[in-house]
């Protein structure tokens, strides 16, 4: 789905998810590893402020991915 959106719309798409090998297999070009399968964009164990801080960091990293030119599938780990 990620790849098709990118292909058809011609826009960068960053995918946040936990299982990186799957994203690589299905052709996602900009990958941000998520926190965990049931909560990729948060960490409730850290309490409400910790959770939000994690979310913010992931989104800022996603923005970095969206504004970085890449020539092949790239994992943005930080």
């Amino acid at each position: 789905m990620t790849r098709e959106i990118e292909r058809v719309a011609g826009i960068p798409v960053v995918q946040i998810a936990t299982i990186v090998p799957i994203m690589l297999t299905v052709g996602t070009n900009r990958i941000v590893p998520g926190v965990a399968i049931p909560h990729p964009t948060g960490n409730p164990a850290l309490g409400p402020e910790g959770d939000k801080a994690v979310r913010r960091e992931l989104l800022l990293r996603s923005f970095k991915a969206l504004t970085t030119p890449v020539t092949e599938q790239t994992i943005f780990e930080k």
């Binding site: 946040i16 998520g34 990729p40 979310r55 800022l60």
Partner: protein, 348 residues
């Protein structure tokens, strides 16, 4: 009774000419022409090529609707029991024409049809499910094997004998699976396969893995502070009550919801219906799957231009690749029309 065989070939195999005669209009000749002789021979008296329909590859490709009707009429008039088309090997226009006429005749006249092509021939992708396509090499050097292969498949179809799996019968698989009971259990077969794999011995998968295409990455966003970013998820995050009944697994559809007034995903307005992960956290705070709350903060801070008012969502687990691709295409088209600059897609 002798089977009435009709053979479809192009201008080249009919000896009319090469590329310069590719616009040859549909023509009927009595009996066999060119490779059709071998077809009749292999039927050993049980079948006769009553007529050969010849059409230029260029004519069929450029005037397909007309060529199809004209060829169908000629073929129909011969009252065939079976149609053979080709072999086309790797010739693209010829393969397209063979596949098209075979599919058409099969549907309109309800008779078996057999063609023969190299697996990469574009006619394969378009028509492999609508006819039987025998596997050939990529050039006419494979003619000696191609004709017998076509004929053996054709004979089975005529005699209504049980057709075996594609790899044994020599045709390109049509995506049809027949279930049967195996003497060994799945567990035994899986372990045997694993052992063969570990030993570096050959093994054959029982189910073909899909091949995923890769695409060159899209250009980055040039000015994030002015960019419109769309949010998409395969984590099954839907408005409370799942108004469009998106499936909990093997999704057949995706939803598009207006989030322009929403600052935050809460259990009052949204929930997760995804059948493939523990929804405990998502249903306490759906932002951990669809990060709307912090996106709104970043939007207010001017880090991004704005969040696209429509949010797209579906369930990823068990969803067929073909469906996921279709969702991606449709969503991509909507985002393109709306002038969206980028997207964030979350998955569980």
């Amino acid at each position: 009774m002798t089977y009435r065989i009709v053979h479809y070939i192009n201008q080249f195999y009919a000896g009319i000419g090469g590329e310069e005669m590719a616009d040859h209009k549909p023509e009927l000749r009595e009996g066999y022409v060119g490779p059709g002789m071998q077809i009749e021979k292999l039927f050993n008296g049980e079948g006769k090529v009553v007529g050969t329909v010849i059409c230029g590859d260029g004519y069929y490709g450029e005037h397909t609707d007309q060529a199809r009707i004209e060829c169908l009429e000629l073929i129909k008039g011969l009252q065939p029991d079976i149609l053979f088309a080709g072999p086309a090997f790797n010739a693209g226009r010829y393969g397209f024409a063979c596949g098209d006429i075979a599919a058409t005749v099969g549907e309109e006249l309800n008779i078996p049809t057999v063609s023969a092509m190299y697996p990469e021939n574009p006619g394969v992708e378009l028509y492999s499910k609508k006819t039987y396509i025998a596997i050939t090499t990529d050039s006419a050097r494979g003619m000696a094997k191609a004709i017998p292969s076509m004929v053996s498949i054709g004979e089975k179809l005529l005699k209504r004998e049980k057709m075996g799996p594609a790899r044994l019968e020599g045709y390109i698989h049509r995506g049809i699976r027949k279930s049967f009971f195996h003497e060994k259990s799945g567990a035994e077969r899986a372990v045997e396969m694993l052992l063969a794999k570990l030993k570096g011995e050959g093994f054959r998968t029982e189910y073909e893995m899909p091949v995923f295409n890769k695409i060159p990455p899209a250009a980055p966003v040039s000015d994030l502070s002015k960019a419109t970013i769309a949010l998409v998820s395969s984590g099954g995050i839907v408005p409370k009550g799942n108004p469009d009944h998106i499936r909990v697994s093997s999704a057949e559809s995706f939803g598009a919801y207006d989030i322009s007034e929403l600052k935050n995903m809460t259990p009052e307005n949204y929930e997760s219906i995804h059948g493939g992960y523990d929804r405990e956290w998502a249903n306490v705070d759906p932002d951990v799957v669809l990060p709307l709350d912090v996106m709104r903060e970043l939007e207010a801070e001017g880090v991004i231009g704005k969040i696209h008012p429509i949010f797209y969502t579906t369930t990823g687990t068990g969803t067929a690749v073909a469906n996921a691709e279709r969702f991606g295409k449709e969503i991509g088209e909507e985002l393109k029309k709306a002038g969206v600059d980028a997207a964030i897609l979350t998955s569980t």
